[in-house]
């Protein structure tokens, strides 16, 4: 009965055999893969050979794109953690997802929900303006915008 149910679910085929696992000291036991284990996610696994070389995260570039100034010591602190998590994400490279449609959303809220294209006034505009840190009626003040050379 369970076998029938299992065959109804699309089978996951690994694109390459799972890479050998390195046991990290102090890592809690159930991040190691076992049959029917909770998680096959091992933090130190290297991405499967066929996945193509994905560049590790370039933290300064990402911090710039995300507009978050990182101090050198924060960058030093974040880099290994982010690298570790991104490597963990890498296990998705090893799974054969050919012909699976990506799902944008859960799909539970059926149908489109468009309202009438009729403008309405929000009654509490003042409260919005009050929240602006640097306001000089009617302008929101910002410092100069420098063009990058």
């Amino acid at each position: 009965m369970l076998a029938a149910a299992a065959s109804a679910v699309p089978r996951l085929r690994l694109a390459a055999p799972p890479p050998p696992l390195r046991q990290a000291p102090g890592r809690i036991k159930w991040l190691l893969p076992r049959r029917r284990s909770l998680s096959s996610s091992v933090p130190n696994v290297t991405p499967a050979a066929g996945a193509g070389a994905l560049e590790p995260p370039d933290l300064p570039r990402l911090a710039n794109a995300a507009r978050i100034s990182l101090s050198p010591q924060e960058a030093e602190e974040f880099a290994p953690k982010i690298r570790q998590v991104v490597e963990w994400f890498g296990q998705l490279q090893a799974v054969d997802l050919e012909s699976i449609e990506p799902s944008l959303r859960a799909g539970t809220a059926a149908g489109s929900s468009l309202r009438e294209d009729k403008p309405e006034t929000f009654a509490k505009r003042d409260a919005i303006v009050d929240a602006i840190p640097s306001y000089d009626d009617p302008y929101i003040k910002v410092p100069r915008v420098l063009n990058k050379e």
């Binding site: 149910a5 998590v85 799974v95 809220a109 100069r144």
Partner: protein, 541 residues
């Protein structure tokens, strides 16, 4: 067909009264009341109904009830610290106003939640109270409007007593990620309440308020409900409007509820559910009166769950799950069998992939959603010479460690060249997870599992190890990927703390089947013998 599950081990619990080794089902003796489809309030069945009764009979006033809760709140807050903000004066005023209306209009003054004190997670906007999202970047920010869920509670007569603590912007599983304070588990003040809705769970657990609102993106209502020994409901995606909920991951976020009983949780779910034109992802499906479908014990047959097909998710009871948690769940499954259901194991093969897929999707959506915290429109601004520096400094200063990490990871996953490798693949895994659940929910009415692999752990235990913390979400994230509803009901205890640590049973259903989950949860709760889920610190008056 595999044999029914056996409870292999006795639950170890300090709170448990002596009982025979094999749990026997006996109906709780009924209250002398007219036979009715609706619930006659027993001691634990519904605080909302007992408040209503007191107000109607004149036995107590709203002001007295509010004073009682506030006094308990003040007594327990120095230890538990559930609230970032307590609106004491406003709550007292609203209670007095309600008493005046009851005096002049009588019964008609009572909305469905009249006099009920509610805690609201601080990532839900409240117009007359600060709303920080647990972050310094919004310190002092007061929104211009109420979140729809908050507005609906207020319209029903509820009194918002304060804003509860959370992991910053909902990112975390312990509430240690709050920029303001650490909330303690009411069962053991050296342990976390869970997260991200830790404050909402602990407030209900410590009886500082009657019910509370939280949000659940990857388990943030269900896991703290399990850790704190309260009922937690994650509705179907689209059941409750997200308008006014500070967005973390828009395709995963839902507003959820906590109560000390299934009946109370069902009551507030009915109030906050429904289509909202301000949230285009909200569903137009009818909202039933969930609580009216919860029958009283004396009208239950001896096998009230006759024929209900329940699937225990195999992957959630194997390696890596605390022995005590696994036993509690198996004992709960036995109890459900004794109530007439048929319980079998079911495998969901894509289960473990759901965890990295979830974190990719959530971080990616967060990196986009949190770009609004720029120091210009609201919140904390750090002055600078040019605009980019203002953004960089304001965000660096105002956003916490975990939030920055997730924004950076999300930025990476979405960047040119990596989208296909991460985000798109995560969406494909999402399809697999949805199909997996759909298949299982054709064979079974309800799926059950623990809400977390362990009971509440110690404060500080996981804070430096992101993967160890993420790993604990394995039981909950797949449900968000599929948008399904899930209810967590306290089902037992494990060793730990002065009085044991609670464990919750998670029940998952197909979309919009909250009514069925609540019905089963209610019967389970009302027939569960010999457990009291009131933490010791709250039982003194």
């Amino acid at each position: 067909m595999p044999p029914p599950l056996q409870a292999h081990r006795l639950l170890i619990s300090h709170r448990r009264l002596p009982t025979p080794a094999r749990r026997r089902f006996t109906a709780v003796s009924s209250v002398q009341s007219p036979p009715a489809k609706t619930l006659a309030p027993g001691p634990a069945a519904s605080s909302i109904l007992s408040i209503r009764e007191s107000l109607l009979s004149g036995e107590r006033t709203a002001a007295e009830i509010t004073a009682e809760y506030l006094s308990r709140l003040h007594r327990t807050e120095p230890s538990v610290r559930s609230f970032i903000h307590v609106a004491e004066a406003a709550a007292q005023r609203e209670a007095e106003e309600l008493d005046r209306r009851i005096a002049s209009e009588g019964k008609d003054a009572l909305g469905p939640l009249a006099g009920v004190l509610v805690g609201v997670k601080d990532n839900l906007c409240t117009a007359n109270m600060p709303s920080t999202g647990g972050s310094r970047i919004l310190e002092g920010y007061q929104p211009a409007y109420d979140a729809t869920a908050v507005r609906l509670l207020r319209e029903a007569g509820a009194i918002v007593v304060g804003k509860t603590n959370l992991d910053e912007f909902g990112m975390g599983s312990t509430t240690e990620g709050s920029a303001f304070q650490v909330t303690k588990n009411p069962w053991d003040d050296s342990r976390v309440p869970g997260g991200s809705s830790g404050g909402s769970a602990s407030a209900v657990s410590a009886r500082q308020c009657v019910v509370s609102l939280g949000s659940d993106t990857g388990g943030s209502v269900r896991q703290p409900a399990s850790f704190c020994g309260v009922v937690g409901l994650k509705p179907t995606y689209g059941r409750v409007s997200r308008f006014g909920l500070m967005a973390y991951a828009s395709s995963l976020d839902v507003v959820g509820c906590f109560g000390s009983s299934v009946f109370d949780t069902a009551t507030i779910l009915s109030v906050v559910s429904g289509h909202d034109k301000m949230d285009s992802t909200s569903s137009s499906q009818d909202v039933p009166d969930y609580a009216s479908e919860l029958v009283s014990l004396d009208s239950l047959e001896s096998k009230p769950l006759n024929g209900l097909r329940i699937g225990i998710i195999q992957e959630t009871l194997g390696e890596g799950v605390d022995i005590g948690v696994a036993s509690s769940i198996k004992a709960a499954a036995s109890h459900l069998e004794q109530l007439g259901s048929v319980v079998e194991e079911v495998s969901l093969p894509s289960f473990s992939l759901g965890l990295p897929a979830y974190y990719i999707l959530a971080s990616s959506e967060a990196s986009s959603n949190l770009s609004r915290y720029d120091g210009i429109r609201y919140g904390r601004q750090i002055s600078a010479d040019d605009l980019n520096e203002l953004y960089g400094e304001s965000r660096a200063n105002g956003l916490g460690h975990e939030v920055k990490m997730r924004i950076l990871m999300g930025t990476y996953a979405l960047s040119a060249g990596y989208y296909d490798a991460y985000y798109k693949r995560a969406q494909q895994v999402r399809t697999l997870v949805k199909e997996s659940f759909k298949g299982a929910l054709e064979r079974f009415d309800i799926l059950v599992s623990p809400a977390a692999p362990s009971a509440a752990y110690k404060i500080g235990e996981k804070i430096n190890d992101p993967l160890a913390m993420y790993a604990g979400d394995i039981m909950t994230v797949n449900v968000n990927l599929a948008g399904l509803p899930a209810l967590v009901v306290p089902c037992g205890f494990v060793e730990g703390g002065p009085a044991g640590l609670p464990i919750g049973l998670q029940m998952i259903g197909s979309p919009f089947s909250e009514g069925n989950l609540l019905r089963v949860g209610h019967i389970f709760e009302q027939t569960l013998q010999n457990f009291s889920f009131v933490p010791p610190l709250s039982s003194e008056r």
